[in-house]
Symmetry: C3
Subunit: 183 residues, 3 copies
Amino acid sequence: MDKRIPVVVIRELSETNHILSALKNYGIECAEITFRTACAEDAIKLAVKNFPEMYIGAGTVINAEQCERALAAGAKFIVSPGLSESVAKICKEKNVPYYPGCVTPTEIMQALELGITTVKFFPANIYGGLKAIKALSAPFPQVKFIPTGGIDQNNLEEYLSCDKIFAVGGSSFVEEALKAYEK
Amino acid sequence: MDKRIPVVVIRELSETNHILSALKNYGIECAEITFRTACAEDAIKLAVKNFPEMYIGAGTVINAEQCERALAAGAKFIVSPGLSESVAKICKEKNVPYYPGCVTPTEIMQALELGITTVKFFPANIYGGLKAIKALSAPFPQVKFIPTGGIDQNNLEEYLSCDKIFAVGGSSFVEEALKAYEK
Amino acid sequence: MDKRIPVVVIRELSETNHILSALKNYGIECAEITFRTACAEDAIKLAVKNFPEMYIGAGTVINAEQCERALAAGAKFIVSPGLSESVAKICKEKNVPYYPGCVTPTEIMQALELGITTVKFFPANIYGGLKAIKALSAPFPQVKFIPTGGIDQNNLEEYLSCDKIFAVGGSSFVEEALKAYEK
């Protein structure tokens, strides 16, 4: 996966092509389309069809029903703000990567019990940022993190320089990509 | 509910009338009586009987047994420092509002799975305050929060000005009410 | 238990005697040997045999399988970075103290439901330190904490002066003990 995972909120289905083209143009080959909006499901279908070379997943998936819908729409990975055991089980069964948000040692241990070793860390800037990730890595050397929240050009390199970082997530990458594309 | 939820710790049953009168006099029509003290159960009974116009609930309810006792005493809502699935189920069955404390995305997702969309956020000042609540609101736009811990006259308005805040909790409202009443 | 719990990472079995002798010499009669390293199990066996007067436990135990192995090796107490219900049940059955890491009110309530009233608080420096422990103690007066992470000579006394602290954990005690021993 790309080291930057753009969190894409699509409010109108018609924006889908524009936003994904902008990301591609910006050198980002993946997108986490959030399941928060009414058109998210259709946007994923459209994105998967029109950008088959990109790695399209669904974000903000908070329960089993949304997970089933996201996978049916073609999502190639699933992200949740927190950890859902039922979503984890569906993804395991269908062999789709699941990145649940885990911020406490207990939550990370639950992820490990479910066979998950890469977790989202959200909201990263609130819960201690890179310092927290390094502290959590001591007892969990096998875990990689996807910090999300408050990450932008100012701290991106610092995050990515840590070998515990699988990738970083954020909506700022979308804004940057759009800015560059619309120039 | 009132936008201010006073967390009332009653150490002697005889204090009940005085404290609730002070709250009423201060313009607060509800009270969360904590289940931490030996006389809490009797205090709730007394408060419900003597102040039928007030909205009396039980706080610091940490297990099913306490929840049953609090409801039997007449509590009209239940608050926990964290989330208890068994307390949630009892409250749902009896159609009583339950406000569990949730501070991580995983805990909020568990509350949503139980049909709960208003959660306590405790200790608010430790876990990022309003900044954390705003960050958590991005993936959880349907959730309202009751921040509790470290809230007083200095930051009350700031909290209440955010549309994600259902109400704020705290013992400071009790102290203020008593001060005004005892003058 | 000693008020200082040294978190001991043993990379080579041959280090075991030297490290434990250093701790004893430094006045520390217990050791939490982490289950992170390949030789951890053998190190616990060796430590229990060679230092029968010391209180030897296993740390970083993250699942039932590791717990069974640690107990079979002779561990007298079990520590986890987070809370594992399955580890808690094994320890209860075998009557061995279990100190799970709990940082949110929900996690503390889960520990209480399992009959646990002493919890690890990790990473302490990231999640609010002593201020957090004091805030959490308001609704949980029955709970004692073992803060771990970022504790050293600079803040040890401050932590230990709080009556909510059962003990403090850290690798810094090992470093100090080795320094004193190797002089």
